[in-house]
Subunit: 224 residues, 2 copies
DNA sequence: ACAATAGTGTCTCTTAGACAATATCGA
DNA sequence: TCGATATTGTCTAAGAGACACTATTGT
């Protein structure tokens, strides 16, 4: 049996400048050395308990980030996707607030708008598209987008995040009802006064119990 | 780098005797030779274009079935799941009407209620649970269950399928409105007269265009 | 005619969305 | 006080579910 190249890739997404952006790194090794690509690497059976552990390791080693939300996206495989031969990549996506993304070690960690990535090697463009679709879809009926916000945030900020992801405005009253129904947020004493020449908004944070757990709704946040 | 055992497994589900049942086969080879397990096998890089092709091949060779609906479920991997070593299984689930399941070749194709499977090797119990959860969840907002029906079926039959999967009754009027909104069915001339000492029901079939494409709804078929 | 289930009309109640009133800040 | 945005109250409209009526078959 010819060998199968077994890897993991991580689609690390964040929200910046009004849109989803993805972390790409310059590849250190052939093939495509020096080309921007998703953070990825071989699975190390001796080191990784499973593929998810491999993804966590790759993400940590290459970007310095430990994401609270990391979920398996899908596995991409086949003969044509890697010039070295038949390959298989178990892909995971992660969501982080863009503030946590900095440069780690020797690798240059850079963000690129998901709609503007060009010239990616392998099938990384398709993988990113799948991740974006998953995130947008899941945002329509879950609390997933809270992971794109920082530790604390206001409801108008969170609503803006949802609206960016869904690509359409959401009714303010309905949005607040939905978030209230999720029952995953708790107010932080002390309002947000910063930039505004206006009434400050209440700051919220995730209830501790929900730090890694999504809340779902049957009906959708924006039935449009 | 130690080797990674790369396989595919198929969770072939059908509805029978009022519940979901899964196809299990007696394993031909070690480990666990003779034990009931999911149909699965090694990926053959020389033969399979990708993992999905491998799953189709495994399903066809071991059960004789070519399922119109085959979707990647997830990839299960790790050190402990296979006594031979670090293994990785890309899992696919398929839905078929139970009429198409017969014995193929030398292998005994048998159905087992998903809630009553015991003593499965590897992590197959967990894989089946994940597939069942996916199917039930997807049934709540999509037309997925039509693949559990035969070529033609009546709306009351389809509703019964949904009710079995969701585990709760559905309002008849709402159900018909939802199915109508999907716009994926067309009536077949000629009613279903068979057993009934009552008004026969109209037979429907999937519109050809939707033979492999699901229809989704925002609101859920049963908001319960 | 009767029993049984299919199919349809309609009313009600829930809830999403529109609208608008009030609250609270900086300038 | 004015401008701006946050937060809350309330009305309206769309849609889901309840109910019941009509339709069509076998016995």
């Amino acid at each position: 049996m010819p060998d199968i190249i077994s890897t993991v890739d991580v689609i690390l997404l964040t929200l910046k400048d009004g849109g989803l952006q993805v972390v790409l790194l310059e590849r250190e090794h052939e093939p495509y050395a020096g080309v921007l690509a998703l953070p990825g690497g071989y699975i190390h059976p001796g080191e990784d308990a499973d593929a998810e552990a491999a993804a966590e390791r790759v993400l940590r080693d290459k970007t310095g980030i430990v994401s609270p939300y990391l979920e398996q996206l899908a596995t991409f495989s086949g003969r044509g996707r890697d010039p070295r031969g038949w390959s298989l990549s178990v892909c995971y996506y992660a969501l982080v607030p863009h503030g946590v993304i900095g440069n780690a070690g020797r690798t240059q960690v850079s963000l690129y708008p998901v709609d503007a990535v060009r010239g990616l090697p392998f099938d990384h463009a398709r993988i990113i598209a799948a991740a974006v679709e998953r995130v947008k879809n899941k945002s329509s009926y879950s609390s997933l987008p809270v992971y794109l916000c920082g530790e604390t945030f206001t409801l108008p900020q969170l609503q803006a995040v949802y609206e960016t992801l869904l690509g359409e405005p959401i009714n303010k009253v309905s949005f607040r009802r939905k978030i209230e129904a999720f029952d995953i947020l708790e107010p932080v004493r002390g309002a947000l006064a910063t930039g505004g020449a206006h009434r400050p908004a209440q700051l919220y944070r995730l209830k501790p119990r929900y730090h890694k757990q999504l809340s779902l709704t049957d009906r959708g946040l924006n039935a449009g």
